[in-house]
């Protein structure tokens, strides 16, 4: 339809607001907003930190059933192991958790690995036991895989049994894993370092294997020579 010739609404007086006024308004509004943000950050910081710590602890307890207390450490590229403090970790540092049982004895190591799955990063936590040089449990930290297909890695009993004793022993010179952790087609697993994929969820299965392998290849050569250091701290 044709717009009426006369102006639809009386226009506001066409005087431009001065730049100073614009700047002042934006500054005042930004200052108010800044105060609100800082206040809410400070108010929620402690709770959020606690939540993160509890979530990490829960994940560790899941992969190391004997654990009853957890300490967080960083493995530096130089090979040193230092307790994780506040602030950002130095570049190249790997975060891991050292777990202790109810009697305070060293119960194993837990660390996180991640690899690209079908939809997004699949982040897994795995538990390492030094007595068998193997992985004794995994848990999924986060994923966005297809419900009913990729998320079978949480429920498929055959798949989970891969991680009862997944061999990750190191080479003689402790420079890398003796055998790469490999995901193989469903039903052809023959070696203790292989992972039997879920048929129909191969991409997600592979992501789990790759995440574990990448993290273990980096972390374990740094860690295994110095496990005594963690034992002492208990």
């Amino acid at each position: 339809m044709n717009a009426p010739a006369k102006s639809p609404a009386p226009a506001e007086p066409a005087q431009a607001t001065s730049t100073f006024t614009l700047l002042r308004t934006l500054s005042v509004v930004s200052a108010i907003c800044g105060v609100i943000i800082v206040a809410s950050y400070l108010a929620t910081l402690e709770r959020a930190k606690d939540n993160r710590r509890l979530a990490a602890q829960r994940a560790v307890f899941k992969v190391l059933p004997d654990a009853s207390s957890v300490k967080e450490y960083l493995a530096l590229p130089t090979g040193e192991i230092v307790p994780a403090g506040g602030g950002d970790p130095p570049p190249g540092a790997l975060r891991f958790f050292s777990a202790y049982d109810a009697g305070g004895r060293f119960a194993g190591i837990a660390a996180e690995g991640a690899a690209k799955g079908y939809a997004d990063l699949v982040r897994v936590m795995f538990g390492y036991s030094e007595s068998c040089h193997c992985i004794v449990g995994i848990g999924v930290v986060s994923m966005r895989e297809t419900p009913g297909i990729g998320d079978k890695i949480l429920t498929d009993k055959d798949f989970i049994s891969n991680f009862k004793a997944l061999d990750v022993r190191l080479k003689g010179d402790l420079s890398a894993l003796a055998n790469e952790v490999k995901v193989v087609k469903h039903g052809v697993k023959t070696q203790p370092w292989q992972i039997d994929a879920i048929s129909g969820a191969t991409v997600t299965s592979r992501a789990v294997g790759k995440g574990i392998n990448d993290a273990a290849q980096l972390l374990l050569p740094r860690l295994v020579p110095r496990l005594d250091q963690l034992r002492e701290k208990s």
């Binding site: 506001e12 431009a16 607001t17 006024t21 614009l22 308004t25 934006l26 005042v28 509004v29 930004s30 108010i32 907003c33 609100i36 943000i37 809410s40 950050y41 108010a43 929620t44 709770r47 959020a48 939540n51 993160r52 979530a55 986060s142 966005r144 297809t146 419900p147 009913g148 297909i149």
Partner: protein, 231 residues
């Protein structure tokens, strides 16, 4: 062609109750204005996610509309959109921190969609179309009503998707172990299917009501549905 009569409602200023209930039914953000579709389709895989997302949006809506309305005489029109976005982004940040403090699982489940509330057409639309020209109390009431209407819409979609796609409601299994989940319902296409189903139902109800009113008074001001105010 019968001309639209938008003046029908603006004869008298709406009462506070009308302000509050506007978003629940007459201009429900999800089913009537069809605003904020990005979170509506993306996070409604379960009822609890939907209700959390709805409440987070409600808080952002109410708080930013209150502040926009309180500052409305100070904000020059040249920088109003920038100001509104700063205000909205502030409260989105507050919600982001709050959800992290309340539940990390929920934070993971909602993902980037909490931050994306800042780009929700509904929030900026209400700030620009309503809060900028209303006093703080009616503006906030209207915003809360809109937010609750949004929450209701999300939960109606999320509830159906969870029941069909996971056989549960608010995480409580409904059908026992023999149930074969209708997986497509929790995948992205399911969001569109369920949304379309509800829209169809609402269109039918609306048409019936309008036809009844028309039979009674011979006036037919059907509430227009595509009302995306400037955002």
């Amino acid at each position: 062609m019968s001309g639209p009569s938008p003046a029908a409602f603006s004869m008298a200023p709406p009462s506070q109750w009308e302000e509050f209930t506007e978003g629940m039914w007459r201009r429900n953000p999800v089913f009537v204005m069809v605003l904020g579709m990005c979170p509506t389709l993306a996070v409604t895989v379960s009822a609890i996610n939907s209700i959390s997302m709805g409440l987070a949006t409600t808080f952002v809506l109410a708080a930013s509309c209150l502040l926009v309305s309180a500052l409305r005489r100070l904000i020059p029109k040249e920088v109003r959109i920038a100001t509104y976005i700063v205000i909205i982004a502030t409260f989105v940040t507050v919600v982001d921190y709050a959800v992290q403090a309340i539940s990390l699982d929920l934070y993971e489940a909602l993902g980037a969609y909490i931050q994306l509330i800042v780009a929700n057409c509904l929030v900026l639309g209400r700030a620009e179309a309503h809060a900028a020209r209303a006093a703080p109390i009616p503006a906030t009431l209207n915003a809360i009503g809109m937010g609750l209407g949004f929450t209701l819409g999300l939960t109606m979609i999320g509830g159906v998707r969870e029941i069909l796609g996971a056989g549960a409601f608010f995480g409580i299994p409904l059908f026992g172990p023999g149930f074969q989940p209708w997986v497509v319902m929790v995948l992205p296409p399911g969001g569109f299917f369920v949304m379309a189903g509800w829209l169809l139902l609402f269109a039918i109800v609306r048409r019936r009501l309008a036809a009844r009113d028309a039979g009674a008074t011979r006036a037919a001001p059907v509430a227009n549905s595509g009302a995306c105010h400037g955002a």
